[in-house]
């Protein structure tokens, strides 16, 4: 993950069922790429914080505009000071850590 080729979008969303599929559905039907998602509930609120990792291309602006139109999306911004390492950890989790055996779900 690197700051030049990637961009992280930070969302505040209403925390109720269907929000995730609303957002991922937007990426599918508008043919935007989506490289990674991090999501967690904000304490003592009815909202969640979501981080989306995207390729930084000329469509980012349109993606942000479309995200802003979603009813359950309350705030959208490009995260300038996000730690890209958060996604690196996920990357490791998904790919399997170096020098350790990949988890085999059937074993």
């Amino acid at each position: 993950m690197c700051k030049k080729t990637d961009v992280i979008i930070q969302l505040t969303v209403n925390n109720h069922p269907g929000v995730m599929s609303n957002i991922t559905g937007l990426f599918t039907r508008r043919a935007f790429n989506l490289e990674g998602i991090l999501c967690g509930r904000l304490q003592n609120t009815k909202t969640s914080r979501m981080y989306l990792l995207l390729n930084n291309d000329d469509r980012v602006e349109q993606i942000i505009k479309q995200l802003k139109k979603l009813y359950d999306v309350l705030e959208v911004s490009i995260c300038e000071d996000c730690d890209y390492n958060s996604f690196d950890n996920i990357h490791e989790l998904v790919q399997g850590k170096k020098q350790t055996k990949a988890i085999d779900p059937y074993n």
Partner: protein, 568 residues
């Protein structure tokens, strides 16, 4: 204290919102709502014969009034049938609130009888959808659904309500019930800062003043913002010619010298050629749709672009602009009309006249009554300018767009974005219900009309002032045309082996039917029929070889249209 069921709350809230007509079909999962609706003396229920028909009836109401209209369907197949009309409303920004019954909450997710994931299906084709978990939530969700549907750029909303929520009884101390749910201002729909800044107005004004060949490219946003009169004064003051999209037809009087007609795929040759010349494209309430722009890179190659639309996501989406403003066009025009100076633009007007004369709209034999363009003009010459025209989708739709003399906004109801065959008849029923003093004409084709023909029964129920005119060429004409032009005349699956006798079919539904196959004096007969106010169907035979011309081939620029040559 009183006890109310969820269903009663729904109906009362709809009454409070001023809803007087609901189109729909009852079924297992929405019966409690129907039970409550039966007690309402403020709401008329229209029993459609297919949920898609109910959806389009709601569209007919919404498209002519600008207010959200309501339709009902039951779970499962009821919802599935409704979806096409919902998607259609999404693409043409029509405010609809569809209230669907859902199987009881306890069974959701078990593949129960007539269960589908309504909200999941709704996501890509609605502005938003709500799933109601308790009767209490209705006080928030029902008004909110209307706010979302009507606010900003309008669109459809689905409210899915499980049967147990409809039956749930709650105690209410006083009505109306305050919506106490802490509201985070969602910002959707209602664009809070939808007014252009002073700098924007100054910059737009300056660009117009500097421009030698400005041109207005207008669309559905003009009628949505109810700004057609302002637009007229603005265009007149600075002598700016106006080209319209399909959705914008009627927003500028078609007999005005500044009017250039519809642009794009089936626009007149001069319209598209003048667009090629403009140095300043003023795009108001449009979205640079591919049918309007042709190959986007070659659209208005000489022009700087000003784009105003209430939906920020449309700005710089398909084409980059010099200045773009996310605002209500009415607000912008309110300012521009003051800031822009009077100008006669004699040179530009002269050039336009020359292009118009050298590249006129190709017309067929003017004496042939049955030539589709003559027919459309003839209809336009008979009826009052208040008459509402609905169309289906295909050749007849484009002939209407090209030749009908629209004078007022919301007089053309047509499926623009989704292009749904079967749109015309049920939408006409909705339009007639909302406009009892107006005549509605549904111009259709023999392919389209059969896609929602069951609504003739609904029309017979209601005895509305609707004339259905079927331009019958025995083919899926638009597809046939594409096969002729772009698939080496390999006609396949486009000619109907069997077509019903449409006049007697209408009679079977209890509606008058006329066949113009052997009319001795078709002019007189048409005038006579259109002077009446009873529902009827006219079968109008036309030559299947007639094509919609000119046409821009797929992937070509608008100036590369074919079939625009002068004909006799």
């Amino acid at each position: 204290m009183m006890k109310c069921s969820g269903a009663e709350i729904i109906i009362s809230l709809l009454e409070e919102h001023g809803i007087d007509t609901i189109a729909g079909i009852p079924g297992g999962a929405n019966l409690p709502m129907y039970n409550a609706l039966a007690k309402s003396d403020k709401i008329q229920h229209v029993l459609a014969r297919h949920e898609q028909g109910a959806g389009f009836i709601a569209q007919g109401i919404a498209r002519t009034t600008g207010k959200a209209a309501v339709c009902f369907a039951t779970s499962g197949p009821g919802v599935m049938n409704l979806l096409t009309a919902i998607a259609d409303a999404k693409l043409d920004s029509v405010p609809i609130v569809a209230i669907t019954g859902q199987i009881p909450s306890s069974l959701v997710g078990t593949d129960a009888f007539q269960e589908v994931d309504t909200c999941g299906l709704a996501i890509p084709i609605t502005k938003h959808n709500f799933f109601v978990r308790s009767a209490k939530e209705l006080f928030h969700i029902i008004p909110e659904a209307f706010r979302v549907a009507e606010g900003g750029r309008p669109g459809p909303v689905i409210i899915d309500i499980p049967k147990d929520v409809q039956l749930e009884e709650i105690e209410i101390t006083n009505w109306p019930v305050e919506d106490n749910e802490s509201l985070i201002d969602m910002g959707i729909g209602v664009n809070h800062d939808n007014i252009a800044s002073l700098e924007d107005i100054e910059q737009i004004t300056e660009m117009i003043h500097k421009s030698k060949k400005p041109l207005l490219y207008i669309g559905g946003g003009i009628l949505q913002s109810n700004s057609h009169e302002l637009l007229y004064d603005f265009a007149k003051k600075n002598s700016i010619p106006v080209a319209s999209t399909l959705m914008g037809l009627g927003c500028f009087p078609s007999n005005d010298p500044l009017y250039l007609g519809m642009l794009g795929m089936h626009g007149a040759p001069y319209t598209n050629l003048i667009l090629n010349e403009t140095d300043l494209l003023i795009a108001f309430g449009v979205r640079f749709d591919d049918r309007a722009t042709g190959k986007i890179a070659e659209f208005c190659p000489e022009a700087s672009i000003i784009h105003v639309d209430i939906d920020p996501a449309e700005l710089d989406k398909n084409k980059s602009t010099k200045i773009s403003v996310a605002a209500d066009i009415r607000m912008v025009l309110d300012e521009l009309i003051l800031s822009v100076e009077e100008n006669h633009r004699q040179e530009w007007m002269q050039e336009i006249t020359e292009i118009k004369e050298a590249n006129p709209f190709p017309i067929g034999n003017k004496k042939d009554f049955y030539h589709p363009l003559n027919l459309i003009r003839k209809i336009g010459s008979i009826v009052d300018p208040d008459t509402i025209i609905t169309t289906d989708v295909g050749q007849h739709q484009m002939w209407v767009a090209q030749a009908y003399p629209f004078q007022k906004p919301r007089t053309l109801l047509t499926s623009g974005g989704l292009g749904t065959m079967g749109f015309g008849l049920p939408t006409a029923i909705g339009a007639a219900l909302a406009n009892p003093d107006k005549k509605i004409i549904c111009i259709s084709g023999d392919g389209s009309i059969l896609m929602n023909i069951q609504e003739l029964a609904t029309l017979a129920d209601l005895n509305l002032n609707i004339t259905v005119i079927i331009l019958n060429n025995g083919w899926l004409g638009m597809v046939r045309q594409l096969q002729e032009l772009f698939f080496q005349e390999n006609y396949y699956a486009t000619q109907f082996t069997t077509n019903p006798d449409f006049a007697s079919m209408a009679q079977c539904f209890g509606i008058k039917g006329y066949d113009f196959k052997d009319q001795e004096d078709p002019n007189h007969a048409l005038e006579k029929i259109l002077s009446g106010s009873h529902p009827c169907v006219i079968n109008m035979p036309i030559d299947f070889r007639e094509n919609v011309m000119p046409t821009v081939p797929p992937g070509a620029g608008n100036h590369q249209m074919i079939g625009g040559e002068k004909r006799v």
